[in-house]
Structure formats: structure tokens, C-alpha cells
């Protein structure tokens, strides 16, 4: 009993485990961060999976054609933005129902990525290189975790910190939150509601595209249709889990990532838990934590932006 516990602790605190958790969490964090901004502006974009997977296909294509992972990342961002622009025009310009359009966007994205990526299956690229700082990276243990990651990891961290600063420490962020909470009042005050929402939607698309591009550029350096395997949906759920707050988003993403890897890595230790339960763990853990943090809140009602998902048509 004790040596199993020791084995588990040794596993959790091993450099390799933490590195794997960081890489597994990064795509979720990138996509969820963008979606957080979108939903804070009052738009519910369910098309994250579609934007991610198009980002994956275009990201790989860009990297393969140019030989540079950076170009690939930019292609992924642009692809995500392009798809989200379609969503924006439909829901903001033509006032179409956001839920239906988002779902349609996912289906379109999955199909498009298969079409774009079909010619690139089986090709190899040079994956994104990892950071190397002469003294810092060689520190045993934390060296590789803090100073030896690929650029996407650092971008993800910088992104969520930047989003937090933007939402809570800038006037523009305040306006965005106002638009999400009460678009009629924001409009009455003279703010361009649809314009702000469109910018948010494009930003969300860019983040989702980058998240998708991460998979074939750094995580598993090849392209295969369907390689996002539902991560977009998990990112969506994480935004709700986080009560639309950036700090909780980071915690939720790393919780989910860590428990996912744990569910795999603990299996060979023969703990007597059925493997189906181990595979369920990340979802169970997220629900349990969500219940616990909701009970301590004390306020009645949801913390969602009050105008989330509601169609806005300016009356003048």
C-alpha cells in the first residue's frame, strides 16, 4: 500500500509527468482563453472545435510548405480567424441564432480541415523548437519545465495573463464586459456593440486556430484528419467551469490536463481501478470541483455574462 503511494507520488512529481501535463494543457488553455473573451462580449461561439481543426490543417500545411513552424502558426491563426469571420457575419450581421451557427461552424470546420489536410497526411515537418537558455534550462528539475518549453506554452501563459489585464485593468476591457452584460445599455451609451463583438469573435477564432495549429506543429508533429479529437468541446466546457474568469480558467485547464495524463499514467501501476474509470477521471474531477466551488459562492443565479447568446439588433 505504502509503496504504491510512493510510486504515485514519484510519478506526479517527476519532471516528465509535469512536462507532459503542460503540453497536454496548452491547446486547451489557448482555445479556452479566446473563447472566454468571446463569451465575455456576449457571443456564444460553439464552433471552437471547427476553428481548432481548421487551424491544425492550415498550420501543418503552412509549416510544410514554408519549412517554418512560425509560418505554420500564423497560417493556423488566420484560418481560425477566417472561419470565425463567417460566424461573425452570420450572427452579428444577419442576427442568426448563435447556437445553431456555432454548431454548423464546427461541422463545416471538421469537413474543411479534412479536405485541406488530405494531401498532407503522411508528410513530415520539423517540429517547433524548444527554448534553450544557457544556464537556466539546465537547472535539474524545474529548468526544463520553466525554461525549456516550446513557444506555444509561453504564448498560452502570456495570453491568459494579457487577457486578465485587458478585462480588468483597461477601459477597453471594461467596455467589452459591459457589452456582454447588457448590450442594450452599452448601445444606449454609444458603444459600437456589434463592432466590439466582431473583434472579440475574430480574436477567439485566432486563439482557437493557434490552439489547433499547436497539435501538428509541436504536440504530435504530423497531420491526420480528426486529430483534435474533441479538444474544442473541452475548451468550451472549461470556460463555463471557470465562471468566465481567467484565473479559474488556468486552474481548470491544468486540473483537466493533469487528471487526463494521470488517468493514463496510473494504469500500469495496477491500482485495481478499472481502466474505464481512469479514462472518466478528468470529467469526473471537473464536475466535482465545479460543484464544490459553486457551493461556496453564496450568490444566487449564474455568473454568466447576462447577454450571453442573445441576439442584438440595434434599434437605430
Amino acid at each position: 500500500m505504502v509503496d504504491t503511494l510512493v510510486a504515485i507520488l514519484q510519478l506526479i512529481f517527476s519532471v516528465s509527468f509535469i512536462l507532459t501535463v503542460v503540453t497536454a494543457t496548452t491547446p486547451l488553455l489557448l482555445a479556452a482563453s479566446g473563447e472566454l473573451v468571446v463569451e465575455r462580449s456576449g457571443v456564444l461561439n460553439l464552433g471552437v472545435e471547427g476553428m481548432m481543426i481548421v487551424g491544425a490543417a492550415c498550420g501543418f500545411a503552412g509549416a510544410w510548405l514554408s519549412g517554418s513552424a512560425l509560418v505554420g502558426a500564423i497560417c493556423g491563426i488566420l484560418a481560425g480567424m477566417a472561419l470565425s469571420a463567417i460566424f461573425g457575419v452570420l450572427t452579428l450581421g444577419l442576427a442568426v441564432n448563435q447556437v445553431a451557427t456555432g454548431l454548423a461552424l464546427t461541422i463545416l470546420g471538421v469537413g474543411l480541415s479534412g479536405l485541406i489536410g488530405a494531401g498532407f497526411v503522411g508528410e513530415k515537418i520539423v517540429p517547433a523548437s524548444h527554448l534553450y537558455l544557457p544556464v537556466l534550462t539546465t537547472i535539474p528539475g524545474v529548468g526544463r519545465i520553466l525554461f525549456g518549453e516550446d513557444p506555444f506554452v509561453y504564448v498560452a501563459v502570456a495570453l491568459i495573463v494579457g487577457i486578465w489585464l485587458f478585462l480588468y485593468r483597461t477601459r477597453a476591457g471594461l467596455v467589452l464586459r459591459a457589452v456582454g452584460d447588457n448590450h442594450a445599455s452599452a448601445h444606449a451609451l454609444g458603444y459600437p456593440v456589434l463592432g466590439i463583438r466582431m473583434l472579440a469573435v475574430l480574436f477567439g477564432g485566432a486563439c482557437a486556430g493557434l490552439a489547433g495549429a499547436y497539435l501538428p506543429l509541436a504536440y504530435t508533429p504530423f497531420f491526420i484528419p480528426g486529430m483534435t479529437s474533441g479538444r474544442g468541446w473541452i475548451a468550451l466546457a472549461l470556460v463555463v467551469f471557470a465562471s468566465w474568469r481567467p484565473g479559474r480558467l488556468v486552474a481548470g485547464a491544468y486540473l483537466f490536463g493533469a487528471v487526463s495524463i494521470l488517468g493514463l499514467a496510473l494504469q500500469p501501476l495496477q491500482l485495481g481501478i478499472p481502466q474505464q474509470v481512469m479514462n472518466m477521471l478528468p470529467y469526473l474531477a471537473t464536475v466535482v470541483v465545479l460543484v464544490l466551488i459553486s457551493r461556496t459562492r453564496g450568490t444566487a443565479g449564474s455568473t454568466a455574462p447576462a447577454s450571453l447568446g442573445m441576439v442584438f439588433v440595434p434599434d437605430r
Binding site: 507532459t20 513530415k124 504530435t220 504530423f222 486529430m227 493514463l264
Partner: protein
Amino acid sequence: MKRQIIFALAAATALGLAAATYHASAAPEKLKVGFVYVGPVGDLGYTYQHELGRQALQKALSDKVETTYLENVPEGADAERSIEQLARTGHKLIFTTSFGFMDATLKVANKYPNVFFEHATGFKRAKNLATYAARFYEGRYIQGQIAGKTTKSNVIGYIVSFPIPEVISGINATMLGAQSVNPNVKFKIIWVNSWFDPGKEADAAKALIDQGADVLTQHTDSPAAMQIAEQRGIHAFGQSSDMIKFGPHAQLTANTDYWGNYYIDRAKLVLDGKWKSDDTWDGLDKGMVVMAPYTNMPDDLKQMAMKTEAAIKSGTLHPFKCPITDQDGKTVDCKGGNRLDNGQILSMNWYVKGIDDKVPGK
């Protein structure tokens, strides 16, 4: 007057169209053959091999046969809809290529008695439903022997999908092969609960290597694990397709399936009116299982592997030859004389001695 002209024009158009379609249907119709895939054709694994088989069929009988395929069909209720769609649109021979399509295929077969169905890797049959599979375990026995000789840590990492008999018999065959050359081998097994999730397979591979595995094998469909093996400088086996491109220094061999000859034979039977429900289970001998070239190993190991392959092909060596002891130490009752019979292999839900895992769901 205007109305009459419109009516006359409409009648003339209708007659014209009817004449045209009558003419078209007088030409001989090609046999429509449908394929239902569980994954993307670009998976460079299991589904890709079925797609190669379909292409071979299309090429060989291009004047008599027209093939269509549906990819990424999820196993379960959705499958029934997809299979039925093929049956309803004039396909007379339908291949459903994954175990999880079994019940859906049976249901649709019962609804469409004039359409011929073939289900891969399953065990339920009907008058118009045949089954076919490849003896993957033959290739796995050879892989087990190679792994047993290659490993220095005596830990083999095994990444698997779902606990169905085909996967369990694969694990057992690999272990028996490994034990035949190295009695100290141990397996570390991770179930990812998916046939295809490159990210998860990569994570599982990393976890196994961290826990001491220096040879990886898999029963999932993407080259992610092979790539991690290449990155970490260890060896691995490809699954279903030759994955040497992703592991030029890592791949020892791959267990590839070749379905082309089978598909051509079955389509010919339908064209000649001689199709009947059968159970085909061929392996190395008939070329349904083909080992990728043996690479990244010393010559004497290569010779050993080729000798084993020849022995299995000729029938002198059977991977499940008796006596076999199961995990609890009991000797398994051999129904095939001196080896397990087909039924026992197809319904295998127990592990051989030496495997430290519990069959999930037991």
C-alpha cells in the same frame, strides 16, 4: 391558349426525360460496392489499409464495379444510419470494417435480405452477412519474439484501445512470443479507450517510457507512439500500416493488413452469383497479414524473425500452441487438438500467465 401551351410543353418535357432515362437504364449497371470506415482514410493505420484494399478492387474490376466509402463513421447508433444509407442507394455488397459495427450491420442485413454484407473482425453472421478478419495475432507473435530479444529493461509498453477479443488475443500472442525467447519479460499496458486519438496515444507512450518501457507496441491507429519512440531513441512496432516514415530508427517491423485480394475475390463471387455467407480468417499464409521489412535490428534477430514467420506460414508453428497457462495458473482447455481452436481465439477474454493487468470488464 397560354395555359394549353404550357401544359403541352410540360408533357413534352416529361416524355423526353422519360425516354432519356429509359435509354440510360438499358445500359449494363455496375455492381455498387460500399465501404464503411471507422476512422479517416488518412489515419495511416487500420482504415488506410482498408482503403488500399478498396482501391485495389476498384482498379482490378473497374469496368464492372463502382465503389463508394463513408469514413469517420462512429461505432454505435450512427453506424446503422450510415450502413442503411448505402443499402438504400443501390449498393449490393457492403463491407463494414470495424468490430463496433457488428450489431448495426446485423440489423441492416436483416432489413435488406437482397444485399450482401461483410463485417470485419466480428462474429455474428446471417444468410446475407459474412465475416472476415485477419489473423493479426500471427504477426504479434513474431513481434513478441523480436521485442523479447530487443528489450534490455524487460519492460514492453503496450498501448491499447478497447478490451475486445481481438485486442486481448493480440496481447496474449505478443506475450507468448516474448516469453518463448525471454521468460522475464513484463508488459505495462495503457488503455486509451479510443481507436484513434494521436494526442492521447502520444501521452500514453511518454508515460510508458517514463515507467521503464524500452520497446513499444500498440493496438491503436495513429503513428503518434512511433514518433515518440523515435524522439526518445527506443524501438517500436507499427500497427496496421508500415510506419517507418515516422520512426526511421525506431521501427522494428509493422503488422500490416492487406485486404485487396479478399475484396476482389468477394466482389467476383457477387458478380458470378456465387456469394454465400462465410467466415474467412486468413493470416500470413494467404497474404492477409504482411510483415513490414525487418529494420533496425541485428542480422541474427532478423533471421530468427524470418524463420518464425516461415514456420507460422507453413503451419508448423501456431502462436497459441498448447499447453497454455492462464493468469490464475490454470491450464487452458485446448479444443483444437494441440492448440486453441478458432472459437477460443475469437472469444478470448482472459490473459496468459505473466501479464500483470486485469481484463477490463471482467
